[in-house]
Amino acid sequence: MTYEIKRSTGAINVPRRSFLFNSMNIALSGAAVAMLAGRSGLVSAANRTETQAIDDVRILNTALGAEREAIAAYAVGAESGLLGSAVLKVAVTFQGHHKEHRDVLASTIRKLGGQPTEPPKSYNFPVERLKTQADVLKFAAELERGAVSAYAGAVPLFVNRDLSKAAASILADEAMHWAILRQTLGMDPVPSAFFS
């Protein structure tokens, strides 16, 4: 199976699967068809492919959850009234990036035959800690820093390497967010040569 990242839109072009593997619709998967035909070699190959694709979708869904949380967090910051106009503009721009990440992740999950998980009803952010612009920026920086690690930890796991490439692209964007937030806070924007 091949995947292609569409550079103009950031979309990940993936062929729709010939069989769906989500738990609600697995009855006539490729593995099942091969099993019915008595072709055991194909069964194991199909099972392996199917399992790998499910693993990829699971990772994408975890990333989707984190992107949704980031969008909600930036909304809290933007609506807090604590951000100056220049900083607010940057925050809204970053939130827009996370929305783009969310959309491409969700569409990729669907293209792979998976189902995007439902967002939580609420996020229970520690809003009581957000009393100044710096508090909001620190909170956002923490989320972005964590996201960099989360993507760095996910990149090696994708079975399909084009998904790794796409995740690395998102990682780079979120690392830039983190650096700019730190710079705005008067901190060293890039405190280390390596991150994990």
């Binding site: 693993d55 699971r58 990772i59 869904n61 975890t62 990333a63 959850g65 984190a66 949380e69 998980t117 996020y123 229970n124 520690p126 923490e142 989320l143 820093r145 964590g146 996201a147 960099v148 690690s149 989360a150 993507y151 930890g153 996910a154 990149v155 090696p156 796991l157 994990s196």
Partner: protein, 134 residues
């Protein structure tokens, strides 16, 4: 319990208690790696870390765990956490923690020392209702 999980955890038990010399202060500097998905006091993409040590996996009320984690049978101890953090998706296949793992053993020990210390302290865990609760 997943067969691989059982094998890994029983191997740990047979080896006896690991020599845990984790440095929580250094672990605190590593904890931001976890903060893409976790915090101590609240559930996020991953469950809260307050009260983690001693807790049975998949048992934070209201958190939507994977079936794999809910049925893993793991109780989080220093040893089980060390194994899990080395390669989450291998130790618990099907976990939603899509993270390759922390390769350096000392990093894991330091991180676990910090999670154990901070995860059982009044701040920030008082509001989570999880401090010291398995």
């Amino acid at each position: 319990m997943n067969i691989l999980v059982a094998a890994l955890l029983s191997a740990t038990a047979m080896a006896g208690s690991l020599d845990f010399n984790g440095d929580p202060a250094r672990g605190e500097t590593l904890y931001p790696q976890c903060m893409g998905c976790h915090s101590f006091e609240r559930d996020r993409t991953g469950p809260r870390h307050c009260g983690l040590i001693g807790r049975r996996a998949g048992r934070v009320a209201g958190f939507a765990y994977s079936k794999a984690m809910s049925e893993s049978g793991i109780v989080w101890t220093r040893e089980t956490l060390d194994k899990f953090l080395s390669a989450p998706t291998i130790v618990v296949p099907g976990t939603t923690m899509g993270y390759a793992g922390i390769e350096a053993a000392q990093d894991r020990l330091d991180l676990i020392a910090y999670i154990e210390l901070a995860g059982d302290s009044p701040a920030p865990c008082e509001s989570s209702g999880e401090s010291g609760q398995p």
